[in-house]
Symmetry: C2
Subunit: 148 residues, 2 copies
């Protein structure tokens, strides 16, 4: 039965399942990350530092699409755990130099098992993963177009 309200039904939403998917995957990550004393967002930030040992809030914010208001308290928590250091730049006092510590680097070893464990849970073929990745990325770029 057709109705002009069809586009307002839950089953016709595309964003809602994406939102649920994100939420439930993160939920699956949680027990794995607890062993590293990390939340999902903290894990993403640490992943950034495993690739690039030093950064600042602005760079992180642009790379991870996270607000500085989200990053400031999060980085303080990571500092408290001893995974990073936060120091004002001497060259430009506005900048905060964030650097991974030895302890933070070593954490990568403990994280090695996580991606496999998650892949098993998501349970898609390589082809499906590739397809999903490219579609999601396309949407992301479209949504980000003409802003930011």
């Amino acid at each position: 039965m057709e109705s002009k309200y069809d586009s307002l039904t839950l089953k016709n939403q595309l964003c809602f399942p994406i939102y649920l998917c994100s939420k439930e995957i993160i939920h699956k990550y949680t027990p794995l990350l607890e062993k590293l004393d990390l939340t999902y967002t903290q894990y993403i930030v640490m992943m950034y530092f495993w690739e690039k040992h030093s950064s600042n809030v602005k760079e992180l914010s642009q790379a991870l699409l996270l607000d500085s208001g989200t990053l400031t308290p999060l980085l303080k928590k990571l500092e408290k755990k001893g995974y990073i250091t936060r120091v004002r730049s001497t060259k430009d006092e506005r900048n905060l130099e964030v650097t991974i510590t030895e302890k933070g680097i070593n954490l990568k070893e403990k994280a090695l098992a996580i991606p496999d464990s998650m892949a098993k849970c998501i349970d898609l073929s390589d082809k499906e993963i590739e397809m999903l990745y490219s579609l999601i990325y396309k949407v992301l770029l479209n949504v980000l177009k003409e802003e930011k």
Copy 2:
């Protein structure tokens, strides 16, 4: 250059872009929903009530995969806006009967333009949407498997 840490790089993450996609789509919704005095989650809840005029917290929680701790304050806000009513069931006082109001029903008219507006922003072909929907749904079901 291959490394045993490849699976821990940001560009090899599948969940991260899904998470960003969800976040950024919701961000796109925000100005549209402001005209209805709704947040995204509140919009989802209202969408549920546009299809089924009455429910309770448990049913909502199962249908929308939202915790009662999330729903309780959210429903109180929707009640305050006059879109729903919250009344304890007389048959079983543990249950909270949540019902959409006339004002809540009328809100659907104002929401009619939103899906088109969002579709334009997401900008995928019908085929791509179908593909993305089915892949996301598959992941969601896999992740939910053997829990909940």
